[in-house]
């Protein structure tokens, strides 16, 4: 069970610090489950670190870094069933990997290649939302629709602290409360919206307490603690399945990497806090928890890391083996039945390209 730390405004934690704060446990998680969580964390961490390198090498486009957000993504996704849906923001672009999506597919997405268009129906992972928080009403409507159809299916929607200031999020949460939609509103509060700190985002002491205004519970967890995130999400999922409606989860962490590859945080960030966050990053924290419990040896940790690195190596090779898309793709998919004007535009393009 998690412990609630009142000094930190109700922040729930399971993982201790190896010294004064003892480790807790989450009921019902086997040793295999714990290792599966760890594999997920390492896979996402490896994906993220390699992606920054691939961006610097010009092999993928501008990339939204999620370093030290892995525990929020793994912990919450692990609390779902495969039939449940995930609505990611750009910060969770690789969350499909946790459901077995090929690495190459996600890398293709960041390369702007059609092979990167995963079918959301295959993975129950919606397409990535680049506008801020505009996918929250989608998740609410999706979940409400599932409820109306009598499906046992919940939706998890992920967004950042900055998104909580957007009208779409406010309106989506209002709607979720009224419809008792089976949706989990998961806010990764990394305390920065590019350069705007959460203190300039809202005067509310915590984001979780906003939930009361929407008529739903608000839960606050340590976003660097994969077990606390898992447990809080599992409870929210149970509420949703029981017909008790939505839950707002505020997972608190600190953004220890740039907002995206185009960002220079040295202009605004608190370097001391970054150093502290990097010291206490979520993958290492869970590794130490597992080591203290005697569940992770050096050999197993190395094997898990090597496996993730191998998947990335294979993924980028596979992604780069695909030839660039034919320019005719520009005109595909704007409509189910393209209007005749598009054919004229394509003919003009072919004439200019000389093919």
């Amino acid at each position: 069970m998690s412990q609630v730390l009142p000094a930190e405004r109700g922040l729930r934690r399971v993982i201790g610090d190896g010294a004064s704060v003892p480790d807790g446990q989450v009921d019902g998680l086997s040793a295999d489950d714990l290792l599966a969580l760890y594999r997920g964390l390492v896979l996402l961490r490896t994906y993220d670190e390699r992606s920054v390198v691939y961006h610097r090498q010009g092999r993928i486009g501008t990339y939204a870094i999620f370093w030290n957000h892995e525990a929020m993504q793994v912990g919450s996704a692990f609390a779902l069933e495969r039939r449940d849906w995930i609505f990611p923001s750009y910060r969770e672009s690789a969350i499909g990997l946790l459901r077995g999506m090929p690495v190459a597919t996600v890398l293709q997405w960041w390369r702007g290649h059609p092979a990167g268009w995963w079918n959301p129906l295959d993975w129950n992972v919606a397409s990535i939302c680049v506008p801020i928080g505009t996918h929250v009403p989608h998740a609410v409507g999706f979940a409400w629709g599932a409820k109306l159809r009598g499906e046992d299916r919940v939706a998890l929607v992920m967004f950042g602290d900055g998104a909580t200031s957007e009208g779409s999020v406010h309106e989506g949460m209002t709607f979720a409360g009224v419809t008792k939609a089976p949706v989990i509103l998961f806010c990764n509060n990394n305390q920065w919206a590019i350069s705007t700190p959460v203190s300039e985002q809202t005067a509310a002491p915590t984001l979780a307490e906003k939930a009361i205004g929407y008529g739903m519970p608000g839960v606050r967890v340590d976003g660097g603690d994969v077990l606390a995130v898992y447990e809080a999400t599992r409870e929210a999922v149970a509420r949703a399945r029981a017909g008790d409606g939505p839950t707002f989860i505020e997972a608190v962490t600190y953004r220890a990497a740039p907002h995206a590859t185009a960002d220079d945080p040295s202009l605004y960030i608190d370097e001391e806090r970054v150093a502290e966050a990097r010291e206490n990053e979520c993958v290492g924290r869970f590794a130490r928890y597992l080591e203290r419990a005697g569940l992770l040896s050096e050999d197993v940790a190395a094997e898990i890391k090597d496996d993730a690195l191998a998947r990335l190596r294979e993924g980028i090779a596979e992604a780069e083996a695909e030839p660039p898309a034919d320019p005719a793709l520009v005109f595909d998919y704007a409509y189910a039945s393209p209007p005749p004007g598009l054919a004229d535009d394509l003919a003009e393009l072919r004439r200019i390209l000389g093919r």
């Binding site: 680049v130 900055g162 350069s195 705007t196 300039e200 202009l267 005109f331 704007a334 200019i352």
Partner: protein
């Protein structure tokens, strides 16, 4: 007259700085405009110079900060609101269309909304379908506002100052690919004319009408055409609402051929409006049907070669001109 070389970005900043320094009613607000200096580094260092009351980071609430800009303007302030990019401005459309644009009219002229809203527009930077629109025509559609599209550093600086002098809401669309563009400006910042289009290159054979991020492509196309003996005149619309049709008509009286280059989608575009006005007022001047070079009517692709294929290009402009008989 002493001059100074500035980038479009620096020129825009110089305009804001001049306004902040000379008019205490002016303040700047928007997402990341503070220590970060704005998403395009336009407001870099202004926070240190003018402090957080006048260079203000906002929550991610476009409707709120555009609406607050309207409220502050109603109360005699001269807010400059930076909306990071034009796609985010969609979240403030009700404030813009139903409020900023109507309050003078609906109060019988008793209210005034001297609000300036700046935003980056346009594609060409691999930012894909949700971050690369050219929707300025939507704003040009609305009675009650003025829409400006600076294509040069001089206009980036001077249009901002002219906008602040305007008693009505003014929207400034800064094409995101222009920020590094250098130009020579008069050293002292001053407002520029925002009522007229500008002839950026004189020519007798064909008129290329454009604005914003497409001006450079048109000037380049004109050079290519010149090598083939076709002398193109290039007109920069500058002000998208109200349109200066007279300058175009004067050009057509010489060239009799019109190609409009507009990064917006062709249907319902500024190019469509220019074309319609020329049909109404300059039909007899034309020796050839008006041609439009616009962005392909699809969401903007992400992959570089696909994005390039979707946008107006020098090649497409040259081709459109060469299809005409001379």
């Amino acid at each position: 007259m002493s001059t100074v070389t500035l980038t479009y970005r620096e020129a825009s900043r110089a305009g804001i700085r001049h306004a902040l320094a000379t008019d205490e009613r002016v303040f700047l607000m928007g997402e990341d405009v503070g220590a970060y200096g704005g998403a395009f580094a336009v407001s870099m260092s202004l926070l240190e110079e003018f402090g957080p009351e006048r260079v203000r980071n906002t929550p991610l609430s476009e409707s709120a900060f555009v609406g607050a800009g309207i409220g502050a303007a109603l109360n005699g302030m001269r807010p400059i609101v930076e909306v990071m990019t034009i796609n985010f401005s969609l979240l403030a459309l009700d404030q813009i269309v139903n409020n900023a644009a109507t309050l003078r009219y609906m109060s019988g002229g008793q209210l005034s909304v001297p609000l300036v809203v700046r935003m980056a527009t346009g594609a060409g930077r691999q930012l894909a379908a949700q971050h690369a629109h050219s929707l300025e025509v939507w704003y040009a559609h609305i009675p009650g506002v003025r829409a400006l599209a600076p294509a040069t550093p001089e206009d980036a600086r001077g249009m901002l100052l002219a906008a602040l002098d305007d008693p009505d809401p003014v929207f400034i669309f800064e094409h995101a690919t222009l920020y590094p563009l250098e130009g020579e400006l008069e050293e002292t910042p001053h407002a520029v004319d925002i009522d007229h289009a500008a002839v950026r290159r004189g020519g007798d054979d064909v008129t290329l009408v454009t604005y914003g991020g497409s001006l450079g492509k048109c000037l380049q196309a004109a050079e290519t055409l010149a090598a083939d003996g076709i002398d193109a005149e290039v007109i920069d619309l500058r002000t998208l609402r109200p349109l200066d049709t007279e300058t175009i008509l004067a050009s057509l009286a010489k060239t009799h051929r019109l190609v409009i280059v507009d990064e917006g989608w062709k249907t319902g575009s500024l190019a469509a409006e220019v074309s319609a006005q020329i049909m109404e007022r300059g039909f007899d001047l034309l020796d050839w049907p008006v041609r439009r070079v616009c962005t392909a009517e699809v969401p903007i692709p992400y992959a570089k070669h696909l994005e390039e294929a979707a946008l107006p290009s020098t090649e497409r402009i040259v081709h459109a001109v060469k299809e005409m008989a001379f």
